[in-house]
């Protein structure tokens, strides 16, 4: 029957049958093990339905499903978990009931007792990720989750050598993403070592990224890890940042991700660029690392590209220039001025305004850099921008021309 129930119209017919669910639940809790499994398969199919009315019929079984989580049968537990996970998006009433029935402790226990069973871990993490995406998660669910053992359990799965594929790590990483992105205050997770663990794993994955392995699992894992790191960087104290993210391999991986996925998965490249900005915003050591690891020239080349990537990369370079004069000099040596001569012509206003800011950072206090900019023909661009309809752009161009380039002939 479970095969028949894959068809949505069959599902509708089924649930209209009197006592059909009652029957299933009866079988689910009956004494015949094989029947239990088959009944569960039916329920799982129903839970998977695109019609909420169908999937909600599974709800009466939820208390049993939760109870079975501490059982020993792998396949059975997995299916219970997926069924529960499928129910989560179905509305507040479902969430309330599941919470009342103790889904969070149940998940925690399940993950802990079954932590060597990766299929179950994957399923439990999946269910948790579904729970964390519900409408009221931030208020009702996340505080409880953070108070439980779940965060440390999730982190323990993020190891660099998954023998059985990345799937469990993928699910755990997505859970952590929902945790870190739902609220701004992630200090608990930070204290629990989340930033360290995620960036460490990212650093390790760098090898696979640069090897150019086109691997579905890899991208699906990189994505939530990047997001976790990006958001965790926001609340990490500056003095601890460098030690937490682990320095060189992390930076190299970030840049490798941007370059490798630029054309094939630009959203991933964009997210990595965002993380790069967050890492360089307040931390001098990371800015220095970017220069000393010779990652800057390749980044400068990326300023030409659109789809949001160039803005974040330019912000990153601005962060570096902002640090000190020596950094500005090095950036110019790597060709930033020439790149600005192109970005100043772009249609994207944000890009142009930011380019002017960067130019200011570079030439302010350095007549040498100012002269170089003139030599590269940049004055004409500024003169043009003086007549742009955007006040922000006009003001900046005008200020630069009068204060920093006034002594140069056209």
């Amino acid at each position: 029957m479970s095969k028949a129930l894959r068809d949505p119209s069959t599902q509708l017919t089924f649930i209209k049958q009197e006592n059909s669910i009652h029957l299933l639940v009866g079988l689910l809790t009956g004494s015949d093990a094989r029947c239990r499994l088959l009944a569960l398969q039916c329920l799982h199919e129903l839970s998977h339905s695109p019609h909420t009315s169908v999937s909600l019929t599974c709800l009466p079984a939820s208390s049993y499903l939760l109870t079975y989580l501490s059982g020993q049968s792998t396949r059975f537990t997995e299916l219970c978990l997926y069924t529960l996970g499928n129910l989560c998006p179905d509305g507040d009433a479902v969430t309330e009931k599941l919470l009342a029935q103790g889904i969070i402790p149940a998940l925690a226990n399940c993950m802990e007792s079954q932590r060597h069973n990766l299929a179950v871990v994957e399923a439990a993490a999946f269910t948790l990720s579904q729970l964390l995406q519900t409408r009221t998660a931030a208020q009702n669910i996340i505080p409880t989750v953070l108070a439980s053992r779940l965060p440390s359990l999730l982190l323990s799965v993020l190891t660099p050598e998954p023998e059985f594929g990345p799937a469990p790590a993928i699910e755990c990483a997505w859970c952590l993403h929902y945790l870190t992105s739902s609220t701004k205050d992630n200090r608990e997770l930070l204290t629990g070592g989340a930033l360290q663990q995620c960036s460490s794993l990212l650093g390790t994955l760098g090898g696979a990224v640069t090897a150019g392995k086109r691997d579905e699992g890899l991208e699906l894992l990189l994505c939530p890890l990047l997001r976790c790191v990006g958001n965790l960087l926001c609340c990490c104290p500056v003095e601890e940042l460098s030690s937490q993210v682990g320095g060189a391999s992390f930076m190299v991986t970030l840049c490798a991700i941007i370059h490798t996925y630029l054309h094939t998965r630009p959203s991933l490249a964009r997210e990595a660029a965002w993380v790069l900005n967050n890492a360089t915003a307040h931390c001098s050591q990371i800015c220095s690392a970017l220069l000393s690891l010779n990652l800057v020239p390749a980044l400068i080349n990326l300023l030409l590209f659109s789809e949001g990537i160039n803005v974040m990369i330019l912000r990153t370079l601005a962060n570096v220039a902002h640090k000190n004069k020596e950094s500005s000099v090095q950036l110019v040596e790597h060709g930033l001025l020439a790149a600005l001569c192109t970005t100043l012509k772009m249609a994207d206003q944000e890009m142009v305004t930011l380019s002017l800011e960067v130019l200011f950072l570079l030439v302010d206090g350095s007549s040498k850099i100012a002269k170089e900019f003139v030599r590269q023909g940049g004055l004409a661009l500024l003169e043009v921008i003086q007549f742009n309809s955007e006040r922000e752009m006009r003001e900046r161009a005008s200020y630069l021309l009068h204060q920093h380039f006034v002594s140069y002939d056209q």
């Binding site: 998977h48 997926y82 409408r135």
Partner: protein, 290 residues
Amino acid sequence: MLEPEDMKSVGFGACSVSEECQTEATEQKNPFNFRTEVFHMHKDHHIFEDGDIQRHMYLQDLYTYSAEDATTLSVSELACHISGCSGTFSTLEDYEHHYNTLHRHVCCSCRRSLPSARLLDIHIQEWHDPLFTILAQRQDMYQCLVEGCGLKFSTSKHRKEHLIRIHKYPPDFRFDRGKKEKGAQELKRQQPKDDMAMDVVQDVCDSEGTCDLMCNVSCSDQLEPGESMETQVLKDKGDGLPSSASTEDPSTDAQHRTALKPQYSYRVPSTVCFGHGSVRGFRGRRGRRK
């Protein structure tokens, strides 16, 4: 709106600066305000949209992973920043060609674009130099436009006859119009698609409203009532620029541009349904177990 101080600081390319255009050492407040910033992105932020779709499809077992699935990431579009010019370009070459064709050798006073430095000089001298008019009463001041010819004439009419007769110029040569002649004078013959620029430059001159302070000749002189050609061009392009000398509001242009803020989901499959009641509530059903 450009302040008069801003107008005075003009310096296009090889523009010869007339008296009115002298740069004043105005004390400007430093407008730069870059601060290094971290950005916390909420799970529903649009930057995450594409990645969420990928995750969704993975869960639905719809995820068809294709190594050859390469989206061509485009180079960022270039745009001409001259106020009112709406030229956009996909290559540096196009941009440079546009700028060099239409925005170099621009007269500060009336914003007309001339094709060469020499013609610009002549233009400024004949149109905007009060001394010229005085001198022209007593001596031949109108130079032949052909470089190397060296001849001068007492009136522009004489010069025109000379150009037609000796140098075989067409009688309607565009860069020898007198001040009160009508028409979109400075349009080049071969227009790239952005030939709006010239009319627009004229328009900007009007719309900025400060032109009167700058020009010896009032701008309205240059737009005869019967300027059907110019307005016609504007209407044809139909991108909403005012066809009269009314104030073009630069802020609406800016608003329009911010309304077109780039959306990040560049590849949303049409089959993806974002569930009920949430910003991006995936009904993330687990697929069939294999």
